[in-house]
Symmetry: C2
Subunit: 302 residues, 2 copies
Amino acid sequence: MKPALIGVDWGTSSFRAVLVGSDGGALARHESADGILSSAGRFAEVLAGAVGGWPGAGTVPVLMSGMIGSRQGWREADYVACPARAGDLVLRLAEVAAPMLGTVRIVPGLSTRDGAGRPDVIRGEETQVIGALALSGASDGLFVLPGTHSKWVSVEGGAIADFATYMTGEVYGALKSHTILGRLMAPAPSTGEGFRRGVAAGAETGGPGTLLNRLFAARTLGLFGELAAGDIADYLSGLLIGAELRAATAGRQAAFTVIAAPALEQRYREAAGVLGLDCRPAPADCALAGQRVIARAAGLFA
Amino acid sequence: MKPALIGVDWGTSSFRAVLVGSDGGALARHESADGILSSAGRFAEVLAGAVGGWPGAGTVPVLMSGMIGSRQGWREADYVACPARAGDLVLRLAEVAAPMLGTVRIVPGLSTRDGAGRPDVIRGEETQVIGALALSGASDGLFVLPGTHSKWVSVEGGAIADFATYMTGEVYGALKSHTILGRLMAPAPSTGEGFRRGVAAGAETGGPGTLLNRLFAARTLGLFGELAAGDIADYLSGLLIGAELRAATAGRQAAFTVIAAPALEQRYREAAGVLGLDCRPAPADCALAGQRVIARAAGLFA
């Protein structure tokens, strides 16, 4: 099959490139931990080292998505305001000149504002969601891309209508490593019970500030011997994920789709099960599928 | 005036002792940063060094409150279950033998459970609240003791009826120093506007998980130039305090009283003003006043 596109998903801590054939299939793959943090100052070198030897390199178009288009990346790409479709993104592709590879395009991020006018941003997740839509044939839905920052993306009529960031993963890490909550945690095997109890506790009703109160239970339940030391970290994780799930799905009836690596996807599915929410896994390779859609809309790929 | 009592308020990071005369007034004071963390293993020495030279030392009773009675302190004192009055506390005083000072008593902490049965604890704040009641003549009220952990204490008919811990201060520190939210913060002078905006944002309605979302605004408002770099830390602080105030006062009409050092008291009063809540400062020396009440109930002081 003839090489037709190089798609690169370049995030904060990972690099993934795929050589796409004219039928859309993968002819070659390269994955590494050369995320933008460790590649700063040598982006052209990392890219050429990964894909420069592929057949067609230098003649086939290269399209990148992810944090490579952030202020800390190779070149800052715009944020396109929601609602947005692939056709809106291609109007704002950023370009960089890469030795031996020619002009490389970077997919812009998206911006939105919440009900109170506060801005929010995503970069990279828009491409994954566009890919998930293409792979599933859906034109509406709610997607979550969990991680350091969980991104909840709402799609209506084929356009990304809105989204919201929940700092769940990063808050978990900061609380576990840098507050009193980590003191009683032990690396003992988790029973799984801590996670489920945490999810239920996090999802209880109450205002935003009640989270600051419920967190303390991850200490007191340990102090009172009502939660095993090996379960405390999972309780905290469950508390935050349960609170996130309840808030992000409030007022919505439909199922949501998780786009994540298997371990994290399983964690969100388990939490959804505790709360009786309908949660589905996304197809594999969403980022690549989204890059194909965007490249096609840009006339870079047939 | 004749020395009649030595009252010690010994917290995690501070030590405060007062020599009390038979009329209840202070004859001498000693304050230092010898909290239980830095005094571990030499509590007797620190105490003797601070108060051993006072007139009457060795003959007047010594009563201590605060984290000195915790598992990390000199001796772990019990937790007395709410509702509790001074008379309940004196039945569970812990005792340690101090060279030259004789038997030293430690005030127990309090425990309670929230609506879902999760335990909560305080240690030291019970004595301050009992003191605030004695100084004001009140027998009902809502008190907040802000800090690393904000303790909201509810008093009914002269008894401490219930309380709840909000991890506001510690969460603020962990998020500021160990998440992406600290990146855009600058030590530039704050305009004060960031704090007020944060308080209002934190107090908006929404479930517990919405806090994980609103936190991200402390980054995006900075990214979009809609919040000055010098205001971002205050915005985060306001967001957490606003959320705390809204949650802790939900369903209550009455004023609340702040027991805190002046800078922190001012911060909570400003936040209460933004939200239209009725907030009052406590009298000074609440801990000492509470120690007098408890010592009297224990027959240690007339």
